[in-house]
Every structure is written in C-alpha cells, then in structure tokens.
Symmetry: C2
Amino acid sequence: MTEQFSKGLEGVVVAESELSDINGETGELVYRGYDIEDLATGASYEEVLYLLWNGRLPARDELAEFSNGMAGEFAVDEAVLDSLRVLADADERPMAALRTGVSMLSMTDPDADARPRDEAAARRKGRRILAQIPTLLAAYDRLRRGEEPVEPDESLSYAGNFLYMLTGDEPGEVAEETFDMALSLHADHGLNASTFTTVVIASTFADVYSSVTGGIGALAGPLHGGANQDVMEALFDLDEREITAREWVEEMVDRGSRVPGWGHRVYSVTDPRAAILRSKLEDLAAASGETKWLNYTTSITEYLTEEQRLPEKGIAPNVDFYSGSVYHQLGIPVDMYTPIFAMARTGGWVAHILEYQTNNRLIRPRGRYVGPEDEAFVPLENR
Amino acid sequence: MTEQFSKGLEGVVVAESELSDINGETGELVYRGYDIEDLATGASYEEVLYLLWNGRLPARDELAEFSNGMAGEFAVDEAVLDSLRVLADADERPMAALRTGVSMLSMTDPDADARPRDEAAARRKGRRILAQIPTLLAAYDRLRRGEEPVEPDESLSYAGNFLYMLTGDEPGEVAEETFDMALSLHADHGLNASTFTTVVIASTFADVYSSVTGGIGALAGPLHGGANQDVMEALFDLDEREITAREWVEEMVDRGSRVPGWGHRVYSVTDPRAAILRSKLEDLAAASGETKWLNYTTSITEYLTEEQRLPEKGIAPNVDFYSGSVYHQLGIPVDMYTPIFAMARTGGWVAHILEYQTNNRLIRPRGRYVGPEDEAFVPLENR
C-alpha cells in the first residue's frame, strides 16, 4: 500500500457527503444543493435541520410535526441543571460547561440502551441534544449571573425560545429573524475540524452524545470556533481607543498583526455567510439606531480592501467578522458566541453522523514512526 | 491540488510520531524504540508514562518526583463526586459517566486560564487528568453499587491505588503487577480512532480536557474500545453452557460468527500484547487455583489455529482475547473493562496531544460533495 502523507489532511477526501458543498473560489456554500442565501433568508433553522437530516425541505405538516416534536424536548432534567449550578459556581468557561452538560444529557435519554446501529434511535438522540442545547446554554448564562433559569416556551421557534430563555423577554421580530438566520448560516460547513471529530467518533459507533461532546471540544479551540469572539474583543478595543477605525486597523496592519475575522482556509473571496450577516447587521443598526458596530466593520473593510493593503491577495472577511457585531446587538455576551456556534453546528454534526454511519468505515489513519529504533532496556535499578 | 480519497483514512499518514511503532506482520509494538515486552515486564506504568511524555526512561529520582507529583493529585473534588452520584442514580453507563466526569474535572483545574499554547500547562493538565481517572472510575463503580467511594492512597502505585479504591482492600502483589502491566500494554497504539480523535481536537488548540473527553467518546464505540468486554461476555456464555469450549467455538465458526477477540485491523499475526497477557493469565490461574478461564482461552485457540479453521488466514488472538479473563480474575466488573482501557490509553492520548501541538497543523480534511446541484428554492407556503 502506498503511503500518502498529508499533514493536517489538507486535500485528503475522507468521505463522500450530500450535505454541504463549498466553493472557496466563487464564494458559494450550498446545503443539499440549495444556495445558503436562499435558505438563510427564506427558511427557518428548523427547515434547514429537516433538510440536512432528511434530504429535502419539509412540507408544512412535516415541519409542524418536526418542530413540535423538538419543542416538546426543550426541557432539561433538573439534575443536569443542578450540575450546571456547580459549574457556574466554579466559573467554568461556557464551552466547557456545554461540553459537560451535553455529555451529562445522555443519562436522561430514553434511548440510552438502543443498539449502536439503531439509526432511528440515533436520529431521536440527535434531535434531543439539539432541543436541549439552547436550554443548557441559556440556563448556564443566567446561573453564572446569579439568576434562575427561564423555562423553555414550547410555543416559540427554536431561535425565539433561546433568546427568550437567555433574556427572560420574548424577542422582537428582527432579533428572532436575525438569530434564526445566524443559526442556519452556521449549521454546516463541510468536514471542518469539529464536524470531522464527530464523524471520527461516530465511525466507532459510539453514540451521538459522545460525538457531539467531542465536536464541542474541538470547536472550543482558538484555531476553530474559538475565533469568533476575537473579532468582537478587537472591536471593543477599538471602541475604547480615541482613534478612528481606519487608524486602528492601519496600526494593526503596520505592526503585521492578523486582523481578526479576515481570511479563511477555504474561501479566497468573501465568505457568502459574511455577506448575509452584513446585511442583517444593517437591519439591526437601522432598527436600534446603534450604528457604530456597522460603521467600524465598514471602515475596516474599506481600509483593507483599497490599494491591496492586505499582506496576501485573496484575503476577505469571513463569517466571524460580522457575527460578533450581530450577536452583540442581540444582547448576547461575548463568551457565548462560540457556544452559539456549537448550538447551530450541532445540526450539521448530527447530519454528518447519521450520513456517515449509513455507510460506515472505522476511521483509522496511520502515523509515520520517526522515533528511535532498537533501544536496549535498562531496568530502573541501573539507571 | 490532487484529491486523494481514502474511506476510513486507511493507508493515509496524518502525522509523524516518535511515540509508538507497530509492525503488524511481525507482531511487534514499540514505545519510543523500546519493545513492549521489555516495558511491560520491566517497567511500571508510571515509567512508561514518563517515557511517552518525556522521550526517555526516568532515573530513580526523576521517577520518584513524577510519581509523587501525580499521586498528590489523585483526589477528586467533592462537587465532581456529587455529580457522579447523580449519574450513578440514573444508572449511566460507565464510559458515559467517565466522559462526563473528565469533562467536569476542568472546572477544578488550577491551569484553566492558561494560554492555549502553554505547553507546560498542557502537560500539567494531562497529568492531573491521568491522576484523577482512577479515582473517578473507582468511585463510580462503588457509588452504583451503593457503596461510598474509598479515598485514594497516595503511598500506593498508580495500579495499586486503583485496585485499592475499587475494592477497598490493598491488592496482592500478583494482582498489582498484572494490572500495572495491563496499563502499560494499553498505553499507546499508534493513531487508532480514539487517539486520532484526541489529536484532531488538539489541533484546534482546544485544551487537554476537550481532547481526552473526545477520546473517551470514541473509545466507547463497539468498533473500538467497546469490543474488549465482548470476549468476556462470550466466555460467560460458554461457561453457562453444558458443552466444551471446543464445541462452543465450533458452533460459532459453523454459523459463520466472528469469534470475539480474534483478528485486528493492524496485526496479521498474534498481537504481542496478547502473548504477554496470556502469560499473566497463567500466573493468575496458578496463584488463585481458578484455571477455567485460562483453559477456555487455550481450548479456543487450539481449535481455531489447527487445520486453518479460520475463515481468513492471518487471524490471530488480539489483546482483548486475554484482557477480559485477566480483569475478571482481578475482580473487575465487565462493564469497567472499556473504562480501564481509557484510563491506560489516556497516557498515550496525552503524549500524542503534546507531541502534535509542538508542530501543529489544524486537521481539516475535505468531504467530496455528491449531493444535488442547483436546487430551486420553494418557500414553505408553496410546498
């Protein structure tokens, strides 16, 4: 067998998938053949989930059944919430709390004893996890602020219920629509590191809780999902300085720093998700009258795109460049951005798990051994 | 870029490593150049950990410092033990309880706020996780039996302390030695699915808790670590039947069933770890006078290896074929075999995490999109 060495697996195709397709040169992203813009603007996150999991968009009665079924599982067991209290008291980081919370949910799953290859059970587990992540996250954010969790409202949409549980108030229409769109935009994106993690775990036929817990762990990393709060922290820094956005970014470029939210391993043009979020940021700015975050991102973009100031060609804003400002205008704390990314991406993770397991092959690459050979063992007494 | 498609990544080299080398044709396994037999019989698990993490076997004072430091971190926070009680009350499976327990440990880590690239902090986190896994597991097993956890004894070895906390009694010399050897044998084995999982997660610079939690999830799968309890369950079945081991295995082969504990994706001859465990099983049988498990495995091996009865050439006993009988003779419940595998393998996981992150590249393969193209979006009202 010829050995193929590819550090980071760049260019290695590990699986065929019908879920999402990315064209980095033209800036296109599709889920099951549908353009992301059509889905983000024309369909709810629940419809996107149905599409990813079932291969087609739902009819109205199918969507109602799916959404109501999921809403009926929003509530999280009191014992799990008690453990969240312990984590909140210890000031655990939200991604770690989510990782522990999701791992713990398996204890309450009625399908816990299902056979590993029971696809229908895996599907139910996936939906339950998805239903309960918003509840876990909103409860955690409130507990660490010393407030009691707000019980889910099954009559609200997935996006609306999360904002309601987080803030205690039913969200306005623009807020709910915007958050729903952000969820759809983040739902799937090929075999990125966290999705790949969930697939590697699923390839052993470990259950969906193990896979999603692993995906959350991977997404927590600063080279992956952890990057999305960097942009907002940078914008807060800019906001506190008494210089213009142009001066601020000029300073950053001059000292050779990477500008957060610019550049992507896959896209060489503008990330299509960034363009959609930018237009939503405009809506939020218009609705609230608070335009500074929109203005900052606009000024930074103008500066960076004129006269080839970027160190490399083909660097453009990615989804993180706008998501931070959007979430901030929705009143979401910065350290919840990555957990929200996880909430949205769990939809894609579950889709990949179900898809991969229907034609499963254990994922087991090789390492190339480059260590010493034939070491003579010397017992401890003689060392 | 040429696309390379390899389902399951078979034959794809994803990283260079100095940690372990497997020769499946000759049945050899080395850790950092040392033959596994030398290490298993001549060194303690603590020495093997030191070797894997530091690149050389420790001198006596180095080993003492390392072992004492780890023993000083055996104790697990009371709040984490309280969550184990909740899991035990819900009758959570031990691997899921371990996954949740390890994930939760991060809340008590004094290095929780360390920078992601702080290698010394990652090393300390790895040692802490390793120190606390035996405590988590022994406590969990006792709690679900309605018994209180036994506090760790820092004066005991890693292996001895686990058996002590599990049973409440200090283990005999043969038991401690055997368990220590089993830990060393399972410590590392190239880039198997769980180790690869930990590396994929670590490649995002997520912290060690995220990686190890993901590894536990992968190891739980029946195609991976979950296989090691199948052998013992099969032997229990044999033990209850009124037929000989020969008749039992003949029946199994005749109906075309796979014999648990036979065959391995990497080894085409006897797994070297199996040979070592077999000799330990002989010692345990001699020490205890209970020879039936040894006799069963011997009869099965004789039957399967005479006259090419196996469906494929090159099928031989793997490590799981003997580990079950060994653990059973040590008084360990069957559903703790995979968690014990995780305990041992955490040593290798941490070694791979530290090694990969010193020359890190985010692991991001591609999927090949084979789904529909250019789907025309129809809004919900018109579906």
